[in-house]
């Protein structure tokens, strides 16, 4: 059984961690569209996958967040990536499977995955 004792252990571990940070820290933002259109197209597993991958790789200055309808419902799930000092990159038709590649190539190595961006779909 999951017990509150385990939750206390999680609490103590989190409190002792050096990198305790709040949402407001400036850094890379991964924004997932979570309106009706996004949810219907599969945004929920994409969002959870981003959060899990960021955690798994221990990326400290990356925040995964959500927004409403971006206005291009036919391309959902849509994910916008904001890296400070760089132009916004818009990924479309995202899936859980594409998430690890976007994290590795774009967030870690700084090379946006052009094949998944809106530009690639519109051409």
């Amino acid at each position: 059984m999951k017990s509150l004792e385990e939750l206390k252990a999680i609490r103590d571990k989190a409190k002792s961690a050096i990198n305790v940070r709040e949402e407001s820290d400036a850094g890379t933002r991964i924004v997932v569209g979570m309106a009706t259109c996004g949810i219907a197209a599969g945004a929920r597993p994409v969002l959870n996958a981003f959060a899990e991958e960021v955690n798994r790789r221990g990326l400290k200055d990356v925040m995964v967040t959500q927004t409403g309808c971006i206005g291009i419902c036919q391309y959902e799930p849509v994910v916008e990536v904001y890296v400070p000092g760089q132009e916004k990159v818009t990924y479309v038709k995202m899936t859980r499977e594409k998430v690890a590649e976007v994290i590795t190539e774009h967030i870690v190595n700084g090379r946006p995955v052009t094949a998944y961006t809106i530009g690639a779909y519109q051409n």
């Binding site: 939750l7 979570m34 259109c37 949810i39 969002l47």
Partner: protein
Amino acid sequence: MRELSLNLLDVAQNSLTAGASLVEIGVLVNTDKDLLNIYVKDNGKGMTQQQADAAQNPFFTTRTTRKVGLGIPLFKMAAEMTGGKLALTSQPNVGTLISANFGWTHIDRMPLGDLCGTLTVLIRMNPHVDFVYIERFNDKEMTLDTRELREVLEGVSLSNPDVIAWIEEFYKENSPLI
């Protein structure tokens, strides 16, 4: 929407947009009555009953990017397809209750889907909001109340990945619906 858990996530977003600090979600099954009830109750800014009625119309929305708002109409349709119905009651400055009944064994009832995924997205994205999540299957019940977790966590965020993992495990061990 292919899963009712997605409709639920979509409808619950409305509560958060309405500035709720407490959102109660129930997924309740009573096989004697062949009834599935899904409800979301919040203490957000609420609506007039006129707005609440209008929200069930797909051509009503408050947003400006588009002229349609499909969240509630889709949820309503999913319920009505199974011989059930949706009720939306609201009061300004008090909150909103949206409740949908479904025929549990009706052939057109969508699968519940990943309810745990819906719950964890809501908590992960809104760690400052409290959620009470109730599942019931006849006399078996599970409740998760983030206010109780918050008490134990002493300031550690509910969106902490280890906390989310704990919630997922808690769900798997206690859900009467899986």
